[in-house]
C-alpha cells in the first residue's frame, strides 16, 4: 500500500510538471527560464535577453546549444573574480584530496564517499565564488544553514560510527551507495545553503531600488523577499519538529527494520505539507514549494542519522525475517550485526536520502498548489 501511495504521488507530480512544461515551452526554454531566475538580480535582464533570443532560434540542436550557453552564463556569470574563483577551486581540490587521504587511512570504506562529497562541495563553492555580489544571510537563513550543516554532519558521523564498529557493514564494492550517499548529502547542502541566502544586502537593495523605475516591480520584489524569509521560517520549524518527533520515536520504540513504510511515516509528510501550505498561505505559491522542499532537505539527513543511531544503540542483533535467516549464511558477512547494519544503511541511503525526499517534494508541490496553485503554474513555483 505505501508503495502504491508513493507511486501515485510521484505520477501526479510528474503530470503536474509535464503540464507546466507544456504551458511554458520546450525543455530548452524551461532551462533558459530557470537559468534566468538563478542569475544575480543585477544581471537578471541579461537572462531575459537570452530567453527572448531563444525564441528566435529554430532547430532542436540550435536551441539546445543556446540553452547550454545560457546555463553556463547563469552558473558562471562574469564577475571579474577569475583569480578568486581559481583560488577557491584549488582550495576545494586540495581540501578534498586531504580529506579523502585522511579518510582512506582511518576508515577506508568511506574513502569514495569522502572523495565524491569533497569534489561536489568544492564545485559548489567554486560556483558560489564566481557569482558577483554574494547575497547576504538573514537570521532564518543562518539558522537553516546551521541546521543543514548539523544534519549532514550527523548523517556522516552515524555512518562513520557503523564503519568503525562494523567495517564489513560499510564495505561497498560497487561504490553505488557510497556515491549516492555523497551526492545526496552534497545536494542537500547546496539546496539548503542556496535557499538560506537572501537575494541582496542592504546596500545592494538600495541600489536596486534606485534602479527600479517601476513601483510595481519594486513592490513585487519586496514581497518576494518577504515570502522567501517566511518560507525559511516555516521550513525550519517544520523540519525541527519533524526531526525531533522522529528521533524520539526512533530512540524509544523497539528496533525494527526501516523500510519504505517507515519512511512514509505520516509525521514527515505532515511536516512538509504544513510548511508548504503555511508558506503558500502567508506568502506565495513559490514560497510554499520552497518551504516544502527545504523541509524535506533538512529533515531527510536528520531522519537518516536518527535511524542509524538508533540501530547502533541496539546491543543485540537477531535475524527475525525468514528471508534473512536463509540468506545470511550465504551473504559473506562475518556476523549478524554487519549483515543487518549493511542492509539498513543501503536501505536508508536509497529510500531515506533519495526516494523519500522526492516523495516529500511532490507532497510540497501539492500543498503549495492546493493554496495558490490555481493562479500559478508549477514551473513558476520553482522559479
Amino acid at each position: 500500500m505505501p508503495v502504491l501511495v508513493m507511486l501515485g504521488v510521484l505520477t501526479a507530480a510528474g503530470l503536474l510538471l509535464v503540464r507546466g512544461g507544456q504551458a511554458d515551452g520546450d525543455l530548452p526554454a524551461r532551462i533558459v527560464a530557470a537559468a534566468t531566475a538563478w542569475l544575480p538580480a543585477r544581471q537578471r535582464d541579461w537572462g531575459h535577453a537570452m530567453a527572448a533570443e531563444l525564441a528566435q532560434v529554430h532547430g532542436r540542436a540550435g536551441r539546445w546549444r543556446f540553452a547550454a550557453g545560457a546555463l553556463r552564463v547563469a552558473l558562471f556569470p562574469p564577475s571579474g573574480r577569475g583569480r578568486r574563483v581559481l583560488a577557491v577551486a584549488l582550495a576545494g581540490l586540495l581540501t578534498s584530496a586531504a580529506v579523502t587521504a585522511a579518510t582512506a587511512a582511518e576508515i577506508p570504506d568511506l574513502a569514495v564517499s569522502a572523495a565524491v562529497l569533497g569534489l561536489l562541495l568544492g564545485g559548489y563553492a567554486t560556483v558560489r565564488a564566481s557569482r558577483p555580489h554574494p547575497p547576504c544571510r538573514t537570521v532564518p537563513g543562518v539558522m537553516v544553514a546551521a541546521v543543514a550543516l548539523a544534519a549532514v554532519a550527523a548523517a556522516i558521523v552515524s555512518v562513520a560510527r557503523i564503519a568503525v564498529a562494523h567495517p564489513a557493514a560499510a564495505a561497498d564494492n560497487t561504490h553505488v551507495f557510497a556515491v549516492l550517499f555523497a551526492v545526496a548529502l552534497a545536494g542537500y547542502l547546496a539546496v539548503a545553503l542556496s535557499s538560506s541566502r537572501g537575494h541582496a544586502g542592504a546596500a545592494q537593495r538600495q541600489a536596486e531600488r534606485q534602479a527600479q523605475r517601476l513601483a510595481q516591480r519594486l513592490a513585487q520584489r519586496l514581497a518576494q523577499r518577504l515570502a522567501q524569509r517566511l518560507a525559511l521560517w516555516w521550513a525550519l520549524a517544520a523540519a525541527l519538529a519533524s526531526g525531533a518527533i522522529w528521533t524520539i520515536i526512533d530512540l524509544t520504540t523497539p528496533l525494527e527494520p526501516v523500510g519504505i513504510t517507515g519512511y512514509l511515516w505520516p509525521v514527515g509528510a505532515a511536516a512538509v505539507l504544513a510548511a508548504s501550505v503555511g508558506a503558500a498561505a502567508t506568502g506565495s505559491a513559490g514560497a510554499g514549494a520552497r518551504a516544502g522542499l527545504l523541509t524535506a532537505v533538512l529533515s531527510a539527513p536528520m531522519h537518516f542519522a536518527a535511524d542509524l543511531t538508533a540501530l547502533m544503540q541496539a546491543g543485540h542483533y537477531a535475524l527475525t525475517s525468514p528471508y534473512d535467516v536463509a540468506a545470511f549464511p550465504h551473504s559473506g558477512y562475518p556476523d549478524v550485526a554487519s549483515y543487518l547494519l549493511s542492509d539498513a544503511m543501503a536501505g536508508d541511503v536509497l529510500v531515506g536520502l533519495v526516494v523519500y525526499p522526492v516523495v516529500l517534494f511532490a507532497v510540497a508541490l501539492f500543498g503549495a498548489s492546493f493554496v495558490r496553485g490555481r493562479s500559478s503554474s508549477v514551473t513558476s513555483m520553482l522559479r
Partner: protein, 108 residues
C-alpha cells in the same frame, strides 16, 4: 590602479562586428550566428562590455507577435574608440573559428 587587459580574440571579433555599422542596433543571437560564437561566450562578452560602459543596450520597442521583446546592443562613443583601438592592435593570428566565421574582420 587598474591594469588594462588585452581583450580576447572573441571580444575583438564582437567589437569588430559592432564597429562595422556603429549606429545600428544588433541582436545577440545574430552576433552569435555571424561570428560563430556560442551564446555561453557571447553574453559574458556583451555583459562585460556593458559593465564597462562600452556598450549600450535597450529593449526592442516593436516586437513580433507572440514573441518577447529582444535586447539590442550597440557601441557607445567610448566603446567605438575602444573598439577601433582593440581591432587595430589585435594580433593578426585570430582563432581559426572566429576568423573563418567572419572573414571581413581580416581586412579591418
Amino acid at each position: 590602479m587598474t591594469r588594462a587587459r588585452r581583450p580576447s580574440p572573441q571580444t575583438v571579433a564582437v567589437l569588430g562586428a559592432l564597429t562595422e555599422d556603429p549606429g545600428r542596433w544588433r541582436y545577440g543571437y545574430d552576433l552569435c550566428a555571424e561570428l560563430g560564437i556560442q551564446a555561453g561566450s557571447m553574453y559574458p562578452i556583451l555583459m562585460r562590455l556593458a559593465d564597462r560602459g562600452l556598450l549600450e543596450t535597450c529593449w526592442e520597442a516593436e516586437q513580433a507577435p507572440g514573441k518577447p521583446p529582444r535586447h539590442l546592443y550597440r557601441l557607445t562613443g567610448t566603446g567605438r574608440a575602444y573598439a577601433a583601438s582593440a581591432v587595430a592592435t589585435a594580433p593578426s593570428a585570430s582563432p581559426a573559428r572566429t576568423a573563418a566565421a567572419r572573414p571581413q574582420l581580416e581586412g579591418a
